[in-house]
Structures are given as structure tokens and as C-alpha cells.
């Protein structure tokens, strides 16, 4: 079942158009990875889907058109984004960051607290630091916090913008392992954009290649690795 579909998506900044007629799809239970070099338009794609920049074309979530919705309403529809560079609330405590993630929920404090406990179990390092200011956490911990915060809103689709940016490979592996586990055990659908192909490809159900705002190739990780030219250009071997 199609969870997210974009068609004819155009977006940019002022007079500069970055995305040109983007067509992509995420099905339920998939981890879809968008690979692209610097300037390809990865973050712009994330912003266009989340609604934080103006866009033309169509974005559909579970068949419903969300193109005209404001960002806060898109969150309410079940899309949560982990922005590039973590985007935590640095002055707020870890706990308040998580609470902020749940701010759109209406199902009562006890359920929210239960969810928080759950993520504390998934990410024990966050539990240790629950009263600490988020800005004082390490890069990897902040990334975990950002993911946990996004999950607090119980999204059906998680958008991740370059989670590996600025993180050591070991930490990145740990993070991707968590995402994979959530996908397998809870059926969380994920759309992830990355420059770092190696780590991301392993868990991807499907991969898109983004180049200067256009999808130039798509397929499963195996298919793309098998294609020589793509492998040489993007995967470096």
C-alpha cells in the first residue's frame, strides 16, 4: 500500500528552482533511501514533503492530498522529520525535547509518558541524561534524541535528513541498526536521504538516485549495485 507519493513536485528558494518534477513513492513498511551528492536537492526534498517551503505539484499521504497543508498539520497527519544537523532544542532538557515531540498528541499524559519510557529503553544513553540540556549532548546522542523526538508523535512515516552527517561510522551504524529494528519490529516506514551510500544501502528496500533535482535512477539496492556506471559514480567502487 502506497504511503507517500509525490508527483510533479517542484520546489526551490526564491527564483532558483531546485527540484524539477520529482516522482517518488514510499510503500508501507519500506525503508526508502534517496542518495545524492551535495547540492542534489536532498534537504529540499525533505522540506518540500514536510511543507516548510512552498511547493508545486502533488504530495499524497495514504492517498490524501497534503500539498496545501501547513507544516504543523502535516505532522498531525503522521509525518515526522529528523532534520539535518539534529535540530534539537538545545536549551531544553532531553525530557522536554521528547515532550515537545509529542505536543500534537491528544491521547493523554499517561500514554505520552509510556511512550517516553519506551524510547528511554531503546536509547539508554538518553535515559541517563534525561534532565540534561540537549545542547550538552554529544553528536550521536543528539541524533538519537532527534529520532526519538520524531517518533514521539507516533508517525506513520519518518523522514530522516542525512542522519550520518558529522557522526563517526560506528555511531552511524548503531543509529541505522535502530532504524532497521524499528522498521522490522514496528513496521515504521522510513524515507531517508544520505550522501553516505555504503551504510544506507544495506537496509534500503529501494533506492532513488537524485541528481540536480531530478531522479536519475531507481531500483533495489542490489539492482543499483549491479549497474556498473552507477556503482562507479555513486558507490565509489
Amino acid at each position: 500500500m502506497t504511503l507517500l507519493r509525490t508527483s510533479g513536485l517542484r520546489a526551490g528558494y526564491g527564483p532558483v528552482t531546485v527540484l524539477h518534477d520529482l516522482e517518488l513513492e514510499v510503500n508501507e513498511g519500506e525503508i526508502v533511501v534517496i542518495l545524492g551528492a551535495n547540492g542534489a536537492g536532498k534537504t529540499t526534498t525533505m522540506r518540500a514533503i514536510s511543507g516548510t517551503i512552498p511547493r508545486q505539484g502533488t504530495v499524497e499521504l495514504k492517498g490524501a492530498d497534503i500539498t496545501k497543508l501547513s507544516p504543523d498539520n502535516i505532522v498531525r497527519q503522521g509525518v515526522a522529520q529528523v532534520p539535518q544537523g539534529r535540530g534539537t532544542f538545545p536549551e531544553l532538557s532531553v525530557e522536554d525535547n521528547l515532550r515537545a515531540g509529542a505536543i500534537t498528541r491528544r491521547d493523554g499524559t499517561s500514554k505520552i509518558n509510556a511512550d517516553m519510557e519506551r524510547w528511554y529503553q531503546q536509547f539508554p544513553r538518553l535515559a541517563e541524561r534525561r534532565g540534561q540540556r540537549a545542547g550538552s549532548l554529544s553528536g550521536g546522542e543528539q541524533q538519537m534524541l532527534a529520532i526519538a523526538r520524531a517518533l514521539m508523535s507516533r508517525p506513520s512515516l519518518l523522514l530522516c535528513d542525512e542522519p550520518s552527517l558529522g557522526l563517526a561510522p560506528l555511531i552511524t551504524q548503531e543509529l541505522f541498526a535502530v532504524i532497521e529494528r524499528l522498521n522490522k519490529e514496528e513496521g515504521l516506514s522510513v524515507l531517508l536521504v544520505e550522501q553516505n551510500a555504503n551504510l544506507a544501502m544495506h537496509m534500503a528496500s529501494r533506492v532513488y538516485l537524485l541528481e540536480t533535482g531530478r531522479i536519475v535512477a531507481q531500483g533495489s539496492a542490489a539492482e543499483l549495485s549491479a549497474d556498473d556506471s552507477i556503482r562507479k559514480a555513486y558507490l565509489g567502487f
Binding site: S50, T52, S70, P71, D72, V75, R76, A80, Q81, P83, G87, T88, F89, P90, E91, L92, D96, R99, A100, G101, I103, T104, R149, A150, S153
Partner: protein, 308 residues
């Protein structure tokens, strides 16, 4: 000893006014990063409104609620129509807009209510003095160690503490407070978490203006009149308070205001020959300068690292 206590409480009372205006400045600065130059004049406008309600015979309690309501509306409308569109251009443009608002509101007050101190029974006012929230006849005082402490001074001081308590609850135990903190911390991420940032900004300004209105009414009550120049010096004292406490710390604003009120009063009293009434305002200047040169983030503010 009695003189000391008297001066202390006068200082706390005066400082409470500074705290109230400073709270407004801090809430706006935290939420939006701007200094609202018109904070004092917005408070003044609401104070005139409260005076007008008194002229129409309303009791001070009701008048105050109306005044604070007007303040909230004024702040919210200002944010939406004047600040938000201009904030995209530059900090300087926002500063100029608040400066223009300062001028406009001050002119408007004079245009509507005349440019003399009110009430002025000679010009046919119904009230003999500006209504005070607390009993302030000459007989309303308590004896503390031989000093005559006005009930009004105690009342004003307690009012600030109560208000601060309420704000503390707001910021730490409510969803709105959390949203305001989140927007102040990282506006982009706040959007991604589903917070309606526009609404939060509007409410921040409204709240700040309403608190300012309270400050204006309290000050006019202490002064027994309202006049066009009432808030000029209060604004600079409040700015000194916010600077001292840290421009993004509400607790700092309250503490800063009280400290400055006390210092100012003590200096004017004990160093009468050298400071006296004339150079009191110099206290504010000195405080601002010293803080900005020694520890710019104030007592409780968070230091910002400027990225080149």
C-alpha cells in the same frame, strides 16, 4: 534602621515596576530575538485606557482586566501586522518599526487624552487620583521594626512574586509554555514538531504587552497620576534590569528589576549629595555599561556564540 527598611521597601516597590516591564521585554526577546522599544509606550496606552475606565465609573479590578486585555490585543496585532513582515528584512528595520510605534503611541495618548498629567480635577476629571490596586492612603502602612512600610509597597512586591510564580508554572508545566520555549530555542524544529509557530509568536507578544500593562497601571497607582512621560525612564530602567538579569531569563528580569530598584533608591537616599534625585537615572546607565562590558549575558542569561 527604619530609614534603611523604608528605603529598601520603596526600592522593592519601584523595582517591581521595572520587573514587570522587564518581563515583557524578556518574553519578547526570548521568543523572537527582538528588543521591543515600544514596550513602555504600549504599557502607557493601556494605563490610559484603565484611567478612562475609571472615568466611566468602573472599579479598578474590572478596569485592570480590560486594560490587560487591550494590552494583549495590542501586542498580538503588533506582532502580526508590524513585526512579522518586517522581521524578514533586518533587525534594524524591526528596531525602527518599534521606534515608530513608540512615537505613535505616545502621540496617540496625548491626542486622545491631552498632554497634561491626569487626573486633573481642574479639567473636569471624575477621579481625584489614578486608581491604585492597593490601599494607598497615608494611613495605610504597617510598622516593621519601627519603619512605616506602605501597604502599597508590600502589595506591589507580592504581586510581582505571584505573577512570576504563574509564569513559572506556564513555562514549565503547560503545553503552551513548552511550545513557547521550543520556538525560542529553535524555531525551525518547532515547526517540524507540529507547533504553530506563528500563533506562539503572537501569544508571546500579547502576553508581554499584557504584563506591561499591569506594570504601567501599578506605576501610575504609585505615582497617583498618568502622564505622557511616565514610562520614558521606566523603560530604560527595565532595559537595565533585563540586561542585568539576562535578556532571555524571566527570573533574571524579576531579580534584576528588584536589584536596580533597591540600588537606585539607596543611592538616591544615602548618597543624596552626590546622586540625589537628579542622577538616579545614572544608576541605570552604569549598570547597563558594567554588565555589557563584564558579562554581556547577564546573571542568568545564556551566552550566544556568534558565528562569523
Amino acid at each position: 534602621m527604619e530609614l534603611f527598611l523604608q528605603r529598601l521597601f520603596d526600592g522593592l516597590s519601584q523595582g517591581s515596576v521595572y520587573s514587570l516591564i522587564a518581563l515583557g521585554l524578556v518574553i519578547i526577546y526570548r521568543g523572537t530575538g527582538h528588543l521591543n522599544f515600544a514596550q513602555g509606550e504600549m504599557a502607557l496606552f493601556c494605563t490610559y485606557v484603565v484611567y478612562q475606565c475609571g472615568e466611566w465609573g468602573l472599579p479598578i479590578g474590572i478596569s485592570l482586566i480590560i486594560g490587560m486585555g487591550v494590552g494583549f490585543a495590542l501586542g498580538a496585532v503588533t506582532e502580526v501586522t508590524l513585526i512579522r513582515p518586517v522581521a524578514k528584512k533586518s533587525q534594524f528595520a524591526v528596531f525602527i518599526v518599534t521606534l515608530g510605534l513608540f512615537q505613535f503611541l505616545n502621540w496617540l495618548d496625548g491626542a486622545i487624552w491631552k498632554d497634561q498629567p491626569l487626573p486633573n480635577s481642574g479639567v473636569g476629571s471624575n477621579q481625584t487620583s489614578f486608581p491604585s490596586l492597593f490601599p494607598n492612603k497615608p494611613t495605610d502602612f504597617v510598622n516593621v521594626f519601627g519603619a512605616a512600610i506602605k501597604l502599597q509597597s508590600i502589595g506591589v512586591f507580592l504581586l510581582v512574586l505571584v505573577l512570576f510564580g504563574l509564569l513559572y508554572l506556564l513555562f514549565n508545566y503547560t503545553k503552551l509554555g513548552l511550545a513557547m520555549n521550543a520556538v525560542a530555542s529553535n524555531a525551525e524544529s518547532a515547526k517540524l514538531v507540529g507547533i504553530r509557530t506563528n500563533m506562539v509568536l503572537m501569544v508571546s507578544w500579547g502576553l508581554a504587552a499584557a504584563i506591561g500593562a499591569l506594570g504601567g497601571v501599578v506605576f501610575a497607582g504609585i505615582n497617583s497620576n498618568v502622564n505622557l512621560g511616565l514610562m520614558f525612564t521606566v523603560f530604560i530602567y527595565a532595559s537595565a534590569a533585563a540586561t542585568l538579569g539576562g535578556f532571555d531569563s524571566p527570573g533574571g528580569a524579576v531579580l534584576g528589576g528588584l536589584i536596580i530598584g533597591v540600588i537606585e533608591n539607596m543611592a538616591a537616599g544615602y548618597a543624596e549629595e552626590w546622586v540625589g534625585q537628579e542622577l538616579k537615572v545614572g544608576v541605570a546607565l552604569v549598570v547597563i555599561l558594567v554588565v555589557l562590558l563584564v558579562k554581556p549575558s547577564g546573571l542568568f542569561g545564556t551566552a550566544k556564540v556568534e558565528r562569523v
